[in-house]
């Protein structure tokens, strides 16, 4: 059976799928690909179903060699507008270069990365390190049996980079009445210590009007949490399932992929989400992907 021998990695390479669901009450983070649409596109191109595990590479630097047979691969994400499936012959090497823009690249292989699942998922959670170990040079990754045809083409993701749309709450009453206006009027800069747990920002603080301690409560993906220094953090895939700082607003899930591709120093803006039914682009993509 085909395997992928990891020759080199960049700053962080992990195995990710759509995450570990239903275990937040045990303190287990969801994890999963940070740029979920890019990971889904890679899987579609490689002929996989939507639950197949892919590799997520932060700032490239990943080199893989196919062993014991060739395989179809597809690389998407950072800086790649026109991805397609490629045949990686046995013994050939795939290089994911450091991207010139964006952060996270995704490598799907036909059949999926077949490391043993942990609690129903192959995603690595970098908060508590639940799931497969991080991928290092020398790792040999098993590849599953392909059961779909690779696709030569796929509609590229519509370019809809823009301000992160937020819905107010649940703890907006811990802040001044104009807190959302302040949040949405500010151009924040992505901070260098951003990671899979959260997008950290540099910018003016949002003052609280309550200074007591919030008892720990459940946190959602995309929560805009405001710690005591007043500078918001957007919770991403590996966020702790509970937290003790008030959440001013929640970023729409359809916009979170952008947080995977923002580099330190780049500008981030927020904007109020329009009321009414949610945009359905990602759901359409998933449905399109499930027709294989």
């Amino acid at each position: 059976m085909t395997a992928l021998h990891v020759l080199a990695t960049g700053p962080l390479v992990t195995v990710q799928d759509r995450g570990r669901h239903g275990l937040a009450h045990l303190g287990v983070a969801r994890a999963g690909a940070l740029d979920a649409p890019a990971a889904a596109l890679a899987n579609r191109l490689a002929g996989n179903d939507a639950d197949a595990a892919v590799l997520e590479a932060v700032l490239g630097g990943l080199e893989l060699r196919a062993e014991d047979g060739g395989c179809w691969v597809a690389v998407t994400g950072a800086g790649r507008d026109h991805a397609r499936a490629e045949w990686l012959a046995a013994g050939a090497t795939l290089r994911v270069e450091t991207p010139t823009s964006g952060v996270c690249s995704y490598v799907a292989v036909a059949g999926g990365i077949a490391v043993p699942p942990v609690l129903g998922s192959r995603s690595t959670d970098t908060l508590a390190w639940v799931g497969p170990p991080r991928v290092e040079a020398g790792t040999v990754l098993p590849v599953g049996e392909p059961h779909g045809q690779p696709r030569p083409l796929d509609a590229p993701r519509p370019p809809r980079r823009g301000p992160l749309r937020v819905r107010v709450g649940p703890r907006a009453d811990w802040f001044a009445d104009d807190a959302i206006e302040r949040l949405c009027a500010t151009s924040y800069a992505v901070a260098a210590d951003s990671n899979r747990i959260g997008l950290r920002l540099d910018g003016p603080s949002i003052p609280r009007i309550r200074t007591d301690e919030l008892p720990s409560e459940g946190m959602v993906l995309g929560a805009v949490q405001v710690p005591p220094d007043g500078v918001p953090i957007v919770f991403l895939a590996d966020h702790p399932p509970t937290g003790g700082y008030p959440v001013l607003a929640v970023v729409e899930e359809d916009d979170l992929w952008q947080c995977a591709q923002l580099r330190p120093g780049e500008a981030v803006r927020f904007t109020p989400a329009r009321p009414g039914p949610a945009r359905r682009d990602s759901a359409l993509q998933l449905r399109a992907g499930s027709t294989d």
Partner: protein
């Protein structure tokens, strides 16, 4: 009960305390609530991955606190009481080390919710007059199995981590094992007794 919307697909239900939160979470699960995650915490239950928040609000309106203690599984945790903060806790409780062991082990705790780390349960049951403050500066490393107190919460560290709880002792029991059917030994609702060894 107060309901806060959280984004487009989650609702945070605010109740009186951790006991009510566990009661609500248990009740909601028993009704087959349509939510991907049901996360009780200190004073809230988060319902996440909810397709129809309006229907969830209607459902939750039908809950009233049962007033009954939880009927979760009973677990005994053997403890060697040799922790570094026994003396501090003894002073705080106006007793000696033997008195701390007796008072700590005579309570039946209930796992109210998990947080901080996979399988780390916040155990309720310690009376309010036995509350102790956290360490002013957390220890850089607390060994797995360490049994500690913070406020009126009791907890057992499932894995090595930094920690600021007052440590009473340690257990050899495995709190967290993702390969088990029940990965967290002390899942919410579990009733817990500590047995001195």
């Amino acid at each position: 009960m107060h309901l806060h919307p959280v984004g487009r697909s989650a609702v945070l239900a605010e109740v009186r305390d951790a006991v009510q939160a566990l009661d609500l979470a248990t009740w909601a699960r028993s009704t087959g609530v349509d939510a991907g995650e049901v996360v009780p915490a200190a004073r809230t239950v988060l319902f996440d991955g909810v397709a129809d928040p309006a229907a969830l609000r209607d459902l939750l309106a039908g809950w009233s606190p049962s007033g009954r203690p939880p009927e979760g599984e009973r677990v005994e945790v053997p403890v060697v009481y040799d922790g570094p903060d026994l003396g501090f806790v003894a002073d705080a409780w106006g007793t000696d080390v033997a008195g701390v062991v007796t008072r700590h082990s005579e309570v039946e705790y209930v796992a109210a919710f998990c947080g901080f780390a996979p399988g780390f349960s916040y155990l309720s049951g310690l009376p309010a007059d036995l509350a102790v403050p956290r360490l002013e500066a957390p220890r850089a490393r607390v060994e797995p199995g360490s049994v500690g107190l913070a406020g009126t919460w009791c907890g057992v560290y499932p894995t090595a981590s930094p920690g600021g709880w007052r440590l009473l002792g340690r257990t050899a029991v495995t709190l967290w094992d993702p390969t088990r059917d029940r990965p967290a030994l002390l899942a919410p609702g579990t009733r817990v007794r500590f047995v001195p060894r």
